[in-house]
Subunit: 406 residues, 2 copies
């Protein structure tokens, strides 16, 4: 009898290897430039008005267990936000507060997936989607965000796949919009087609919209909630990115409709939420207050997005000036996902690229294969321009040294 469960083999951290190398380098006294973590508060302090709201909750002794679905104040603030921003009507009972979107992903898979059942995911994917699906015996059915389509979804290919699988219908389809790792907002037209396909083939549609306010370069974001009115679907979001508060661990799932499937999944997720009692209480009150403080929030998010836009564009330009990496210009989040032009490099794959770059130049990126897309790297463009410039120069120097022409 093995001591560790079979399912645990699926819960591997694809970045563990690099993290261990970086840790060793730091222990040797070397400074590592980390462009691998999508963690805004490291670069932009969580706004003062949010901290103050959190402090108030603590001083008001809001330190006990709260409702498993989340405090009413936060669910109400979320409902008002969706009405205000997207004209989506959703009542408080359709919202469940989670410990980050990652917990929502866990609940979704626990609640929906029987062993052997499938879910449609898109490569490159947010890594966390995978272990929870596999952990519950689910099987991913991979479609693609296509580089050729500037990282949009090829809905013809998607339809073919769905048709092929129609008899053993996939349980859900999960899109990430705006996207991590590609930094792309999905086209409204593409989203409409996805909604139609989900509806036609009766596949529960989930949209992870955690970066919905970090959109720039003239792009326009559409929430799935606007297009999927009248059909079962779920929106995932949280305080981590828009409210610059990753460490609060406050996410939420919104299931706006009231059809049978929506009611069933709401009830099931609530039961999973009850089994862990509640999310952090004072953080929920803080986010509720922050979300209702539209004026302060708008000022903060606008300033942050403006600066992110400038940094992302700066990094993209620098990356594309060399011939070693080629990045589609992002219009959201804070990621670049450039292709490694391996034909001019003596580097086998993205894993070798990232490992050797880290060892030789002390710059840490995340490898594309960690997102299911070999041959790419993810660069987080949250650091100040001087750091980004220094790091990209080091990347170019590294590539030059491993260039075939050299």
């Amino acid at each position: 009898m093995e001591f560790i469960s079979k399912r645990s083999r699926y819960v591997v951290n694809p970045l563990e290897e690099e993290d261990a190398i970086a840790e060793k380098l730091r222990k040797k006294g070397k400074e590592v430039i980390e462009l691998n973590r999508g963690d805004p508060p490291v670069y932009f302090k969580t706004p003062e008005y949010i901290i103050e709201a959190y402090v108030s909750a603590l001083k008001e002794s809001k330190t006990h267990y709260v409702a498993s679905a989340g405090v009413y104040e936060l669910r109400n603030a979320v409902a008002k936000r969706y009405k205000r921003m997207y004209n989506i009507g959703v009542d408080e009972d359709s919202i469940i507060v989670t410990q980050g979107v990652s917990e929502a992903i866990q609940f979704i898979n626990a609640a929906m997936i029987n062993p052997g059942e499938k879910a449609i995911l898109f490569k490159p994917y947010y890594p966390i989607y995978i272990p929870y699906l596999l952990n519950y015996g689910g099987i991913p059915l991979f479609e693609k965000y296509s580089e050729r389509l500037k990282w949009n979804i090829d809905t013809d290919s998607l339809e073919k796949t769905i048709k092929k699988e129609a008899s053993k219908r996939p349980k859900y389809m999960l899109i990430t919009n705006p996207n991590n790792p590609t930094g792309t907002v999905l086209d409204r037209k593409v989203l409409k087609e996805i909604v139609e396909l989900a509806n036609e083939y009766d596949i529960f549609l989930i949209s992870d919209e955690i970066y919905d306010e970090i959109v720039f370069n003239g792009a326009k974001f559409t929430s799935i909630g606007e297009l999927a009115k009248g059909m079962p679907h779920m929106i995932l979001n949280g305080a981590s990115k828009d409210f610059d508060a990753t460490g609060f661990r406050i996410g939420f799932a919104i299931i706006p409709e009231n059809d049978k499937k929506s009611r069933q999944i709401k009830h099931a997720i609530l039961q999973y939420a009850q089994a862990r009692l509640s999310a952090n209480a004072p953080a929920q009150y803080a986010v509720a207050e922050a979300m209702n403080n539209v004026k302060e929030h708008n000022a903060s998010i606008r300033a942050m997005v403006k600066e992110i836009e400038s940094r992302v564009n700066f990094a993209t330009k620098l990356v594309n000036e060399s011939s070693y990496l080629t990045a589609i210009e992002p219009n959201s989040a804070f990621y670049l996902f450039p292709r490694i032009n391996k034909d001019i490099l003596k580097i086998k794959d993205d894993r070798e690229f990232v490992k050797r770059l880290l060892i030789e130049q002390q710059v840490q990126l995340a490898r594309g294969s960690g997102f299911g897309e070999e041959g790419y790297v993810r660069i987080v463009a949250l650091a100040e321009k001087e750091i980004l410039s220094l790091a990209i120069n080091k990347i170019n120097e590294f590539c030059k040294q491993h260039s075939i022409k050299r």
Copy 2:
């Protein structure tokens, strides 16, 4: 194809029915005395020095993602606490911070249990142990905390069960000490025998010690870590009860030894922790500082335990003065778990007792069957004596009205 997974049927909240009734009563304007929630900060404000530590962490912008295993400061504080309190040597890498003990329970079952494998639990159990085990296809093997032994474990019965199962060895054995719902500290002698059995039959031993500082009436608590030195085991604890901060959702798992099994389970749990990124960051720093502030903590916990002791004893005396309920005198936590003397009552079972008591007298208890022990109720004795007195009078009045002699 059912939309909701088969495993979800196991994730039911045994108190949902009562909660729904209480909610309805409140909507009708009736006041419900809730003696059903083990939530100390509702009755004893989280101490000021902990709130201040939390506020400091927020003002120092500790609001980003932190290590999945927990911040070093907290793991270090936990290690020092165990050295100081129990002379248990454990290094920081043997500690994993979780979002409450409930998350640790989830990780344990995910990491250890293959479908069809067994785990030894004891009735009456803490309800959350069950859904996570069943959810991963595990099978509980129930032994008993025996009322006859003042809620201690009958180790002869336990040994028989283990012997019977020796060929298909249970994966783990989980005890709760001090105990919820019985309010009992397990005897050191009983614990020694349990450790020996776990060792002899190679069953991984887990002790949930979340109430370890809430011990009174002269009882003495022994951590499993003191007795299980040199053999694989795990201690669960957290900030919820000893630090009077349930709403922080900060728990931890300690796996002190360095044998193969201990290393495997540490690694597996860490991987599950990585899949959810991290626990709330500022709360971790707050608990670390609180745990290191021995002087303030000792003053707070002593005052709280003294008051709890007084309230528990007051409630126990009142309950036992009637002939309708009989409670073993608790010596820890803040629960009474009296038997319903059904032979003198026209009440079918604990479910009917709790429902009718709630509807007729607006006093909410938790039914024993929710803890796997039909015929009992759990009373939380955290409220002020006037409230406890009022509630227990109402319980007695209710029993009188449903008495057979009436």
